[in-house]
């Protein structure tokens, strides 16, 4: 099974289940020199008290909105999500290739309750006739069996 190489972990520390169809020059090259210099185990963990649940950011709580209509503007999101609390940060990424919205947005509220209310109210709601999904962006622990989770 091909090892996953990384300057961060210095080797295969991510186990893959089952054989994979492989493709690319990366499997045919190996830069041992790079791995040995950069293997590291000391990472600053942001959050991670191990428990399940959302993780706070510097200024508050960040939620992820997906299914954002490609012509949506920041104003649309401010109008929709601003009613749950003051939006500290709004990050709406554009697709550099198309010029349209990439499809997701990150919104930061100061208070946990504000973010939680936005999620409850807007998950599954429509914006410009397109259905959005809203959830927390960061967690304080691993998501077990995430790949098996059904559509949320």
């Amino acid at each position: 099974m091909p090892k996953l190489k990384s300057a961060i972990t210095g080797g295969a520390s991510v186990s893959l289940s089952g054989p994979k169809k492989t493709k690319g020059r990366g499997f045919r090259q190996d830069d041992a020199d790079r791995h040995s210099h950069l293997a590291s185990r000391d990472f600053d963990s942001i959050g991670s008290d191990g428990g399940p649940g959302p993780q706070r950011s510097i200024e508050g709580w960040i939620i992820l909105v997906t299914g954002v209509h490609e012509e949506a503007q920041e104003d649309d999101l401010h109008n929709t999500f601003g009613e749950f609390g003051e939006i500290k940060n709004l990050h709406l990424n554009l697709d550099r290739r198309t010029g349209f919205v990439k499809g997701y947005a990150l919104i930061e509220y100061e208070k946990f309750e504000e973010a939680k209310n936005a999620i409850s109210a807007m998950d599954g709601a429509e914006l410009l006739t397109q259905t959005m999904n809203v959830d927390w962006a960061f967690s304080n622990g691993p998501s077990v069996g995430a790949s098996k989770r059904k559509n949320m």
Partner: protein, 156 residues
């Protein structure tokens, strides 16, 4: 196939770097199957030290990553005809999605001009636009934790 988006393993790693006057300068991040995002940025410019951060992403974030990757159709490409990494630098993109595992390497890409003049402009263009997301990742990380002076990125 739509099924690949929602089920099976997911892993993504991106690396860009070079060895030069300021040592091994690189940026690398990993999206791991359990949701952990690991990020490392190294430069010896102005005696910077290595920055290493990690945070857990929710399944919602991973799902959106998978959608973006699927939509880009990068998994259908091949780096056979892409420029090889050189003294100027190196990029690596490794993705596991479902039962497919790609590991592409190429040189740094300065702009679309480099893409157009390559032997596989269409494939390389897909790669070029997809890895624009590296700026996204940094921006998002900056909401979580103060990042030190991003000297390496500013030099790009």
């Amino acid at each position: 196939m739509a099924a690949e988006e929602d089920s099976g393993e997911f892993y993504l790693r991106y690396y860009v770097g070079h060895k030069g006057k300021f040592g091994h300068e690189f940026l690398e991040f990993e999206f791991r199957p359990d949701g952990k995002l690991r990020y490392a940025n190294n430069s010896n410019y102005k005696n910077d030290t290595m920055i290493r951060k990690e945070v857990f992403l929710t399944p919602a974030v991973l799902k959106e990553c998978r959608r973006i990757i699927t939509e880009s159709e990068i998994m259908k490409e091949d780096d056979n005809n892409w420029p090889e990494p050189d003294r100027v630098g190196r990029q690596e993109l490794e993705i596991v999605m479902g039962n497919e595992h790609i590991s592409f390497t190429t040189s740094k890409i300065g702009s679309l001009v480099d893409v157009q003049s390559s032997k596989d402009p269409e494939g390389l263009r897909i790669f070029y636009y997809l890895v624009q997301v590296r700026f996204e990742v940094l921006c998002i990380l900056s909401y979580l934790t103060p990042l030190q002076d991003q000297a390496y990125l500013k030099n790009e």
